[in-house]
Subunit: 250 residues, 2 copies
DNA sequence: ACCTGAACACCGTTCAAGT
DNA sequence: ACCTGAACACCGTTCAAGT
């Protein structure tokens, strides 16, 4: 181990090959969390170790415990940061200006953009146990739920309809984004370079004629347009929920 | 079935009072995988350790390496076993007898049943990297994909339509089941008993009036009927895909 | 043929001690 | 006030040695 491992990134990204020994920026919880997220994005979750994270921050692992109670809590904080990033997305608004359909669609796109920005970290958002069973990933913060429900109710949704919409929306996002991110996130785990992508060879497909015949279609990527179509469909479904409950009230 | 667990008695710390002096059942890969799955169901993934698994099998951890290359491969095998269990479900058929809608619906129910049987293991099925990007969880085996595509094509689906249906179906299942399983799987992690379910108290909700007002609706569980409705909706969507492509051919 | 003991490298975490 | 060295318990994994 070389001694002076002080990587301190003044601004955001230090990419590869940038060993800048620098003026002692003090540790902070935010810096630790941000670095952890960047680390996961680059190396994948299994690569993130308290000791390696410390190294990256120019510090021994033990120092981290001044700012973070432990590794598990650190991961929770990373999730929180990612979720917050979604809320900060440009396209996302918290008050519908152009109808609830527009609101829902912007939200979906904003969440998707962040998910694709962090393909390796997004599964964490999906699978970390939430604080309450009704905080559903990926919209798993009180802020999110409040603003979502508030928006729909403000647009005329019944209470139950708003809750149903929240459930349908989160299911939709989770399924689509997790799968989309999986195809992207798998590529450059720093170990995968060595293992030549163990994709089932043409020989292994001998017993699977249909798969072999459709191999071309199967490996094409239409995730963007599929997301769009499924989203459109979801909006229609929400409209049904909306109307059903409206009718019930008159 | 794993009722044939063998506990080596002696002063190894056993939790349950079940000191059955064993009739030395030899180790085997299948037994190891089945025990690992049972272990995860009970203790959760983080609790599964090569050493503890060995203990449960009445054997030192090192013995496992005769049958399994390592922990990661063991987890892959657990996923494989779970996916196979879905295929073995009674309600699931591999050749449609009553139209593709019936086929798809049976499939969905079968997968859901297995997911709910293994709430702690299902996230593994969802998030473990697949062998190829087009093997989408939870239908992530060549067998699955082959029989699914085959069935739909046999029912008149266009090649592209069948692939589109596979994508839509997997997204649907993943989103819904992962969220449903999360609400169920969270409860009895053997540690959660001590931590009193850190649910946001009424005080923490002070700044979230809408959430507070809808707390009742939010914590109600309608997952079964929601699954049903969303599934019906998905089938309608697949019918659209079906028809679009049909039309394109004439 | 199947399992174990001992060992290694690495991990999360604690705490008294350094600056 | 902030960081480190040393230590502990536990982990995955290897391998020569036991039966």
């Amino acid at each position: 181990m070389s001694d002076d491992e002080q990587y301190v990134d003044g601004d955001a990204d230090l990419v590869a090959g940038d060993p800048m020994p620098s003026a002692r920026v003090p540790l902070s919880r935010d810096r630790i969390v941000a670095t952890a997220l960047a680390f996961i994005d680059e190396q994948g979750l299994p690569g993130l170790t308290m000791r390696r994270l410390g190294e990256r921050l120019g510090v021994e692992a033990m120092s981290l415990y001044r700012y973070v109670p432990g590794r598990e809590d650190l991961l929770d904080a990373v999730v929180e940061a990612t979720v917050a990033e979604m809320q900060a997305d440009d396209e996302v608004v918290n008050t519908p200006a152009d109808g609830w359909q527009d609101y829902v669609i912007r939200l979906a796109h904003g969440v998707r953009r962040v998910a694709l920005r962090h393909p390796k970290a997004f599964p964490l958002v999906a699978s970390r146990p939430a604080e309450a069973p009704w905080l559903r990933p990926p919209l798993r913060s009180l802020d999110w739920v409040e603003s979502f429900l508030d928006a729909l109710v403000g647009e005329g949704f019944d209470d139950e309809a708003a809750v149903g919409a929240y459930r349908a929306f989160t299911s939709f996002l989770l399924g689509h984004l997790l799968l989309e991110v999986a195809t992207r996130g798998a590529d450059v785990g720093p170990l995968d370079v060595l293992e030549p992508e163990q994709e089932p060879g043409a020989d292994a497909l001998a017993e699977y004629p249909t798969v072999r015949r459709l191999a071309g279609d199967l490996s094409q990527d239409h995730s963007a347009t599929e997301f769009e179509e499924a989203l459109e469909d979801l909006v229609n479904r929400l409209a049904l929920i909306f109307n059903e409950h409206q009718r019930g009230h008159h």
